[in-house]
Point group: C2
Chain length 401, copies 2
């Protein structure tokens, strides 16, 4: 598996386009269309929030199909908390895209991201879809990626080439998300395209499993949005023998490609947490169950006290232990160990008194990893997050409705 | 029931003292002893954190007794994550206080608050206990209150006088806590003294019930500390007929006095959230169960996105709805209503488009109340919290281990 340069259009048969439709006040790209020239197997997962946006309701229907062919998306307005009108608008996006692309509307996913509680400016959205659809090509992957961004400070993309069943295949992904990132698909959009051939029912299972090991392990602020969507399209144009089950010999190859792509994007999202100055990896080991390991890692990653301590470059291991302690996960407080940046700070529940000057170089790194041993079992989990800075407060205090 | 001026020593038979023992680098008060001149019925609740401090282990044993007589406490060092030595030190505090006060050590609660992972400077602690015990009086309530503070910006105290069974009784409370405040007794110390007569087993049940409607409904940052303790001493010197069960005619009077005292202190803690510029009351109504109502209110109160929006005086109701939506509580998204400061912003799940200039006066208030109707039942819950400001990040980024 080799990392390559490229956008969603790197795998065979994918074209895309992003345009400036005037929905964003900034005038930046805000409508995109992504499409496979042939029908593709699809798998998707969506926000678990009980308040879910209209486009999510529409896209869930698309995901009931074995295959789909395109994604239409806008940024600048989330089309959430918009009732019946919101649903009408989301369906109109689907219809318009279908007409322009000359494909079945029901095979088109619909996404929106941005401010909650406002109706879509449908005239602008329509014009944007028409313009994007007229400009579809293999070289417009970047404009499509730009059109899904909101407060992102950099474009999140990754692409790999890999051999499967004697053929060369590609997989590519883009993601949007900075604030409001949290398990269960927090304001995050991610699209993954591949020309590998995989059976639709298997792909649906794999997307769920992969989301649980990538995007659902990222926390920025613990908030889960109304619009999160992860959509995978696999069009089979690489002509490998179709991977039809977990028992197929090529299954591990495709699973690894999908997982790597998703984890790369997930980590980029944590790197781009609103106002973040640090990227933190929280490893929990020795837990009684995966659920416990994840709960402890999440509690640490979500703790504002932990996050501000790392912002202040303070090795405040007490806050880390404390968060594990209130997570509800089983732990043996008298045998727990904690390391930060590979340096053991707590052994058998007690401070080992590492001199502060030895820790300062570790705490001043941008990427910091910590490992806590719950000392009660063998299960592990890893969560990625970032620190809380003045700028987090600034960005989110000043981002007005 | 009438609010009066006074410290823990306002009820008959209580004496106290706080001294500067040099544990805090600031040189402020850091050791206190609080005592009833006669044995008192007691009830207490402690942190649910699996990493709990040594003094909590000692105090839990005291709470197994029907009665107790004193509390010894230090600030500046939490005696948490200190293993066997921590337990030896906590017991030594209890022994020393017993010797100095000439009462049974096993009847003395022990508390510590401050930095985690350091051993108590026992020479200073011992000298502090000796000095405090030598200075016990009814006029030293304030010094005792000062000695439990850490990052608090004001002293939290309240006292009431009330008639019960034809006698006049008093109840008084102090609390410490600003950061790390969260349900299940987060770094919070609260002591309540009363001269009312109440049976120990009943008092224990009442303290639990009252904690659930007061301190466990306060959130500052969602972190739950290792040292939280709420301790009530009731010495009966008011000579009312002892309240021995929930069926006793005077039960509602005493319950109300205890609840009011605890809720007053709880709200003061939210007011004093680290760096807080706003006091927020989150009311959830129309929930399917109390657990659901509390879960939704807590999710809103803990959301960094909600908290920074209020700091920015932005009526970002989308973030409030969104937090309720991911809380796991049942809600009818198409019938939910939301009001802020009495102004309806969302009706049947949709923006009612109140002009921003009408909301600005509400959002610029210091105390802001919001009510969300989940539209699925009749249960309610209220949680108190504060906003997240630049200063929260500053205080917690710069508070070094």
């Amino acid at each position: 598996m080799k990392q390559i340069d490229g956008w969603l259009t790197a795998p065979k048969g994918f074209i895309a386009s992003g345009v400036r439709a005037g929905i964003k006040a900034s005038g930046n790209h805000d409508v995109a269309v992504i499409m496979s020239t042939v029908v593709a197997a699809t798998g998707a997962v969506f926000t678990q929030n009980k308040i879910c946006a209209a486009p999510v309701l529409v896209s869930r229907e698309v995901n009931k199909r074995p295959d789909a062919q395109a994604i239409v998306v806008n940024s600048g307005c989330a089309n959430a908390c918009t009732g019946e009108q919101g649903l009408i608008d989301a369906k109109a996006m689907q219809e318009e895209a279908g007409k322009c692309l000359n494909i079945e509307p029901a095979s088109i996913f619909v996404c929106s991201t941005g401010v909650i509680g406002q109706f879509l400016p449908m005239d602008k959205v329509h014009r944007g879809i028409v313009a994007a659809a007229a400009n579809m090509s293999t070289t417009e992957g970047e404009s499509a990626a730009l059109a899904i961004q909101t407060t992102d400070t950099f474009v999140k993309k990754v692409a790999y080439e890999f051999e499967i069943g004697g053929k060369m295949a590609k997989i590519a992904g883009i993601a949007k998300g900075a604030g409001m990132i949290h398990p269960n698909m927090a304001t995050m959009l991610t699209y993954i395209t591949t020309d590998a051939a995989v059976a639709p029912d298997l792909l649906k299972r794999m997307v769920k499993a992969v989301a649980d090991k990538s995007f659902n392990m990222v926390v920025v602020d613990g908030d889960t949005s109304t619009n999160d969507s992860m959509i995978v399209l696999a069009n089979g144009l690489a002509e490998n023998e179709i991977v039809f089950s977990e028992e197929h010999p090529d299954y591990p190859i495709f699973y690894q490609a999908l997982l790597q792509t998703a984890q790369d994007l997930a980590k980029m999202i944590a790197h781009d947490g609103e106002g973040a100055t640090k990227f933190l990896e929280v490893n929990v080991i020795g837990a009684a169950s995966f659920a416990d390991a994840k709960a402890a890692a999440m509690a640490i990653a979500k703790s504002p006290l932990v996050k501000t301590a790392f912002f202040g470059e303070d090795p405040n291991w007490g806050r880390v232990l404390c968060a594990a302690g209130y997570s509800g996960a089983a732990m043996d407080a008298n045998h727990t160990n904690l390391s930060i940046g590979g340096r053991r700070l707590v052994e058998n529940g007690m401070n080992v008194n590492v001199p502060l000057e030895e820790l300062q170089p570790i705490m001043s790194e941008h990427d910091i990893s910590m490992t806590i041993d719950m000392a009660v079992g063998n299960e592990t989990a890893t969560v990625w997050t970032c620190d809380f800075s003045y700028d987090y407060v600034k960005i989110n205090g000043e981002y007005h409705t």
